[in-house]
Symmetry: C2
Subunit: 357 residues, 2 copies
DNA sequence: TATGTGAATGGAAACGTTTCCAATAGGGCT
DNA sequence: AGCCCTATTGGAAACGTTTCCATTCACATA
């Protein structure tokens, strides 16, 4: 029925017996046309199975109707969900989504942004290692390509959809303090390449201070260590006096739970663990994960919405941070005085007197 | 430094003092040019910060250097990982990835494919509700746009990257039989819209027969039921004689574990559970999930590779199914004779005599 | 010297669209 | 009848490329 090679607007004009300009006007509803002409053009377009050629359009109108999206990785469900959010917000807007992944690599970030720009994307949504010092991103701004970030805390001149990592992390410290923990730790992956992780630590650190806790121990591990519970266990055993651990994401928190089993520790009796993100699976664990619950999907949606507004000429506006909530699981409890005593005394002299409860 | 609006090849030619054709030849390495001319053009291009305009290229060459990818959802990590695989395989090939999600909707599948074609994608990678009867996909084939599927078992005329769901599921039945299970069940989500799920059931069913098990009970649940353990528990309680459950994916299997806790059952003592997919988190559970381990990432890679080959004119060839492995977790064990006896006798008369072990 | 060869080069068409602008026609006015 | 105004309409340029083809030129050959 339909031809192998699709019809062009020229074909439509020919069949409708009119000029190309007229056909274009009718098909785009972008100018005057008599009712009869409308009818003829519509009919011809339908009969020919006409559809616009995006390349021709893009070339002429200097709009590709395409939005570029750069995330570190789709293997991380947090980012995958965010992209899903972007995608669903874009649905019906006429914009298509061009995807790129950096694998947490700073250089890859730059080339990806450049590639997106070469593809004439009309806007960019990104989560990067260091958006603040990305020259490629600067160039995008210079060319008036609107940019909307996800997950990043606000950075000068860049709009972002985010949760307030500092405040959220502070909440965790507050909870730790409320349960009577004295020595707590922060477990991080990719600390150097994630401003989120750093901001969480900052908020956590600050509130520990404010709540009278000892300065939290920063434990940074490699991806490999995160994946092998026995290796993670070998690390955790070096911090026997830490009674509560704040993991910079839920995966890490779950890995910690696994690792503690190698050590014969119980969560939360011997070690409290709190995660960040609020991934669904955390609820289904035998010991449901206590965590900061966020909605990556909502971040994606907000970033997309901001961008769409900007593309409609409404300006690019920073919105307030998205809400988070403290999800009460079962991995946070008061410290076990016994273990704390024994281990701490055995392991090292401490400035904090042993708890007597 | 760089101009707000980027330089065109015309500018390069002007600065280099040559014709557009020559500049194009040099920049593309697509024709003769003297060493001196090469130098001049390269230099001009560099000085101007020139980069090709994808739209102009696409229009002229009728190649968009873009590949369309359609998956049901990125919120499902299995698909997200597959897309990640596609993405990484495409990296460096010069092709960009245009993404679309259908949310498991048949109609959305069709319009998504059509939209991708309107965007002149050079190839399509897809996982759909029903690729075999998608007229949009037919059209793509007619227009000689290569199509490569993911996850689907082979369908006439369509190349796919997959694991043999039938064989893999049969392996589960074999294991169930080896442990002495007699009455087993298959738990499915979206059975009607997933050929994968159906093929798994078919293989499971067939091997149950071959191994002398009773015909497996098919339990189909809604997404909502999957998400609420208590609701899932209410369903499971209706099948007291089932001692082993094969869940059509890992999430479901984990949800079942959660649900059994509501019922006071122990996994695997009171109920064995086996999943499908082999998601990472399954290993980290307190009771590690027994499952069929697959690599969605590898599927994505293979699908992308096949497509790239086709785009290089090497033809689109069906490759053998990707390997899977049976991951021994701790959620599969011999049935508990006590519970089995009591429940079965109490619940209903059975053609299978009570076990005496 | 005339001729043929090959390499290097540039002009111009074409890809499919939008849009500026001019042309046409119909209708109401003086 | 002559004229202006408005609503339709179509021609053609432009967007940035690639590529066909013709031109030019240097050089070797007869």
């Amino acid at each position: 029925m339909h031809p192998v090679t699709s019809a062009t607007i020229k074909d439509v004009a020919r069949v409708a017996g009119c000029g190309i300009a007229t056909a274009s006007r009718v098909l785009n509803n972008s100018g005057p046309a008599s009712a009869e002409m409308r009818e003829r053009v519509q009919r011809a377009a339908h009969d020919l199975g006409f559809s616009f050629n995006a390349a021709g359009r893009a070339l002429q109108s200097r709009k590709s109707m395409t939005i570029g999206c750069l995330v570190p990785s789709l293997a991380n469900p947090v980012f995958a969900e965010a992209v899903q959010g972007v995608q669903s917000e874009l649905l019906g807007s006429g914009y298509q989504l061009l995807i790129s992944c950096s694998n947490y690599d700073d250089d890859a970030d730059g080339t990806a942004i450049t590639t997106l720009m070469e593809n004439n994307v009309d806007g960019i949504i990104a989560t990067m290692v260091a958006p603040d010092r990305s020259s490629a991103l600067m160039q995008a701004k210079q060319r008036d390509i609107p940019v909307s970030l996800m997950f990043h805390d606000p950075i000068d001149g860049l709009v972002t959809a985010y949760v307030d990592n500092f405040v959220a992390a502070a909440e965790v410290a507050r909870r730790f303090a409320a349960f009577g923990h004295k020595r707590v730790g922060f477990l991080a992956l990719r600390f150097s390449t994630s401003d989120r992780s750093r901001n969480r630590y900052a908020g956590f650190h600050e509130q520990c201070r404010a709540s009278g806790l000892a300065q939290p121990t920063l434990i940074e591990i490699s991806e490999d260590e995160a994946r092998h519970p026995e290796r993670l266990a070998a690390i955790l055993i070096n911090y026997p006096d830490v009674t509560a651990l704040f993991a910079s994401n839920d995966f890490l928190a779950i890995a910690v739970q696994k690792a503690t089993r190698h050590l014969g520790w119980q969560v939360p009796q011997d070690l409290s663990v709190v995660g960040f993100d609020g991934i669904e699976i955390g609820r289904l664990l035998e010991t449901p994960l206590t965590t900061i619950e966020t909605s990556p999907e909502a971040m994606g949606r907000q970033a997309a919405r901001s961008l769409l507004n900007a593309l409609q000429g409404l300006g690019l506006k920073q919105r307030p941070p998205l809400p988070f909530s403290f999800r009460e699981g079962e991995t946070l409890a008061a410290p076990n005085p016994k273990r704390t005593d024994d281990d701490r005394v055995a392991a090292q002299p401490s400035s904090v007197p042993p708890l007597k409860i």
